[in-house]
Amino acid sequence: MSSNSVELDRVTLVFSDSNGDPVLAVDDVSLEVPQGQFLAIVGPSGCGKTTILNMLSGLITSTLGDVIKGGQLVKGPSLDVGYMLARSALFPWRTARRNVELPMEIRGVPKAERRRRADELLDMVKLSDFKNKYPSQLSQGMRQRVAIARTLAIEPKLWLLDEPFSALDAQTRITVQNEFLRLWENSGSTVILVTHDLAEAVLLADRVIVMTARPGRIKLDQMIDIPRPRRVDDLLDDEYFMHLEATIWKELRDELV
């Protein structure tokens, strides 16, 4: 198995809620994501999407079943996974540049090299003019682009995206989505995007999985054969895209609302 594929083998996760009562969050889910695939997991709140990401990132351990990354059991956080959240989670006391430097600091990259690389990455997300600004001085969209640059600094083989575009307004979202696609396409890294926006999933991903409400099970697993490179704004009125989205939506109406 290649180094950045991902596999869930009959994974179950039971957590205990604030009363100590057991809750079945993920119920016997199996899933294989080959290297370089962009998978979107769609489902209502509480279907265990984020829990799956947390297991893949090594933040939590499955109750039953194996979580496998690159042919090896996931035992804890590893350095080649990039995690992005709905809120940019930038460190407010660090400038944009120092935020991008953070993962490199943790890895012990020398200061000059770190700085050079951070500037390069901020340039890639078109924020060169804002590198000395603090997060409070940046717009939502800019912050999320800084977060992309910070994740790129990890050179992730696996991207775990937990609704990273959901907090953005409609126009900014399209820009940031395009930005992400541009940087990711041809990188060969695997992406798992969690979202409850079906259109976003179809626009961005190679494959869409729809999960049921709690306990999370896979309800539908569909390949999206829209060719790459994609541009989100071009696809929005594309007939094939609209047809695909409508078809999936009809099948899932009951689960998604």
Partner: protein
Amino acid sequence: MSSSEKKELTPGQEIIARYVKPTPRQRAIKSMKIPVQLGKIAVIAFALLVWHYIYKWNVINRAFIASPKQTLDWFGANWDNGEVWRDVKVTLREALFGWIAGSLGGLALGLIMARFKLLWEVTSPVFTFLNAAPRTAFAPILILIFGLAETSKVVLAASIVFFIVMIPTRAAAGMIDPDLETVIITMGGRERDRFLKMILPSVLTSVFGAIRLASVWALLGATFAELFGAKYGLGLRYIAATNILNMSEAFGVIFIIAMLAILINGAIGILESRLLRWQSTSSKGSVMSV
């Protein structure tokens, strides 16, 4: 933009075109907010006047207070008095050491308690008791234990500062943005990275206000302990003056302490706004009316 342009201006463009940029001098004068400054002076003058008449009309027994004039005269007579300066130095030193020791101790223990929650749960009754106990009342005991010299004052100041800093430190360390936590862990951050790059900066920001407040309390704690016995210090000078009804000196010392507190608070405030520059949000404009 020149008005010779043929193009018709919209009403809004006209306002912009007619606007005359103030000179730096005009801007500087405006930023001084002269009416506000005059208002402040008026309020201070009024307060001095009230004070003056309280003394003059004997509203409070004149033997127990000094007039503004007497206080000012005391400053005039003593501004180069080496003994007063020595007392200022002693009290400041006690407050400074107490502040530093109490802050460091409060920070350290607050962080430890946040890290080891079980330890906090088990020991919290003791801390709750010590925090509730009137610590200033320990001053005479501390003097018995640590002697008349500066150590006893440092200990009292530190014990007050400690709780002012420790309680919010523990709370702040427990309320760090979970998203930051997720990000730093998935980046492969170890305990040390989490502490140095996330917990410490985050906590320091939250408790900076408490540390600043504690500096004034350190000064008060040191002075208060001196009232009960000291070799030198402003508190000793104050109690000695009141004992012989030398009220102009007593009032002078109160003013010195107040001014020291203002100075310390201001200095830390400047440091704070430097360090917390990243919190600044752009100031809002206002609607222009014609």
